[in-house]
Amino acid sequence: MNLVQFYAEHSGEVLGLIGQHLYLVAISTSVAIAVGLPVGIALTRRPRWRGPVLGLANVVQTIPSLALFGFLIPLPLIGGIGARTAVVALVLYGLLPIVRNTYTGITGVDPAVREAGRGMGMTDRQLLLMVDLPLALGVILAGVRIATVVNVGTATIAAAIGAGGLGVYIFRGVAMVNDALILAGALPAALMALAADGLLGLAERRLAWRPK
């Protein structure tokens, strides 16, 4: 089957699946940022937690995605079959790069700059907002980029637990031994990952402060 022809005949379905896929990635990455950024900042203030927290995030990262989905399904509130479980899993995967990069970004800020800031009477909050975050922004955005790109790929596996998205074509293609169908799902997912990588890379270069 010709891919162009397939898309022409199933345009509504394709757009729907792309929408679901974007939804899964957008929601999970947003939540991962909303949770990961404060956690990363907290780690710079409480270095003793660094080992356990980053260790835990590392362990989560090593759980194969299908297994993680499997573990989550029986859990009340966050589990079950469908998009919610998938989002929870994707958030967990997205946390590590964001927490780690927030932490390394902030701890990488020149200590003299932070001492000068404190010495001039900046509050912790001012130091964070005016010094730490702007100077760490490039590294933090790189973490967000990694989390997003990884989640675009991992979200395809979410189709196994009824979360929809482009993985639906891939799983259907695997079940039917139909390469065109697999490609129909894999190709837009790959393009989506490339687009996310490119756009966030651009944001990184535009927004982040970098020495010449």
Binding site: L66, A67, G70, P74, I161, F171, V174
Partner: protein, 302 residues
């Protein structure tokens, strides 16, 4: 835990796929090794194990198991390309999904069997063994309390509630010729939204947890009783008969003629009740498949 277990297996399947190339390359050198495959659900694994043990004890040939490979089409691809030599298929599945024939006339179990035997030999060079005896049809399944509340006994009763209900199916059922689309047409089922597609092994959990309201299981599945579910009657005879029987490469029987009689011993020996019990032992009580197969063989064919 059913979901977790099925997931683990599916994960394992990918590893298996990755490893398959290497192992097969090694296996090619040893032509006396009989490779038995299975589809990705418990009953298929159980039957493959029974077949494998029967071959081992009657012919003393080494048997290699490739269980939980994938769906119908994955297994069909594997056997036609020679990656496996044998697996257990269902006549109705072969008839509609693989041969893509229109639904057969009512209750023609023998004619369906005769057709697949003839067409498989002609088109694929594959040989069907004798049916094991039971018939495992698709079981359109709902929760018992819903069945009682809405008075659902037959699939045709489902049309009333469908517009408010959510369906969940495995990927294969959504695509097969004897799958969801034909079913919806035959019974006039119009669900609120397109069915949720998910891994086949998760459908029972999704139904029991209330994520979906109706699924397509198998009539011999142990979970139907264990999870307090009800299978609706196929009152319009949409589904063809699904007799389980071994499918083999013709070359296998030429190379090892003893396999034929060994498998013939199994003909008609597994009843619907036997199969349901074995599935329940494996899926609900989590008993080891190899042990279940050995115990059953010793009892049925001493």
């Amino acid at each position: 835990m059913r979901g977790g277990r099925a997931d683990g297996r599916t994960g394992g399947r990918w590893l298996a796929v990755a490893g398959t190339a290497l192992l097969l390359a090694a296996a090619c050198g040893r032509r006396d090794r009989v490779v038995v495959g299975a589809k990705n659900f418990t009953e298929s694994d159980l039957l493959a194990e029974i077949v494998a043990q029967q071959i081992e004890r009657r012919t003393h040939l080494p048997v290699e198991r490739r269980l939980h490979l994938g769906g119908t089409f994955v297994c069909h691809e594997a056997i036609t390309s020679g990656r496996i030599a044998l697996y257990v298929e269902y006549t109705g599945t072969a008839y509609t999904a693989v041969l893509k024939r229109p639904p057969p006339p009512i209750a023609g179990a023998e004619s369906v069997y005769a057709t697949v035997v003839r067409d498989y030999a002609q088109r694929f060079g594959l040989v069907w063994g004798k049916p094991f005896g039971f018939d495992n049809t698709f079981a359109i399944t709902v929760r018992r309390r819903d069945a009682e509340r809405y008075g659902l006994r037959r699939i045709s009763d489902l049309a009333r509630v469908a517009p408010r209900w959510k369906a969940g199916f495995g990927y294969e059922f959504l695509e097969r010729a004897d799958g969801f689309r034909g079913l919806a047409r035959a019974y006039g089922l119009a669900f609120a939204a397109p069915p949720t597609a998910m891994d086949l092994g998760l459908t029972y959990r999704a139904l029991a947890d209330g994520n979906v309201d109706v699924i397509a299981g198998n009539s011999t599945d142990g979970q139907i009783e264990a999870l307090d579910l009800v299978a609706l009657e196929d009152d319009r005879h949409y589904f063809p008969p699904y007799q389980a029987a071994p499918v083999m490469r013709a070359g296998l029987l030429r190379l090892h003629p003893a396999i034929g009689p060994a498998l013939d011993e199994l003909a008609g020996k597994i009843s619907d009740a036997d199969m349901r019990r074995l599935n329940a032992e494996a899926d609900v009580r989590h008993r080891d498949i190899a042990t279940l197969a050995r115990d059953w063989l010793h009892a049925a064919l001493p």
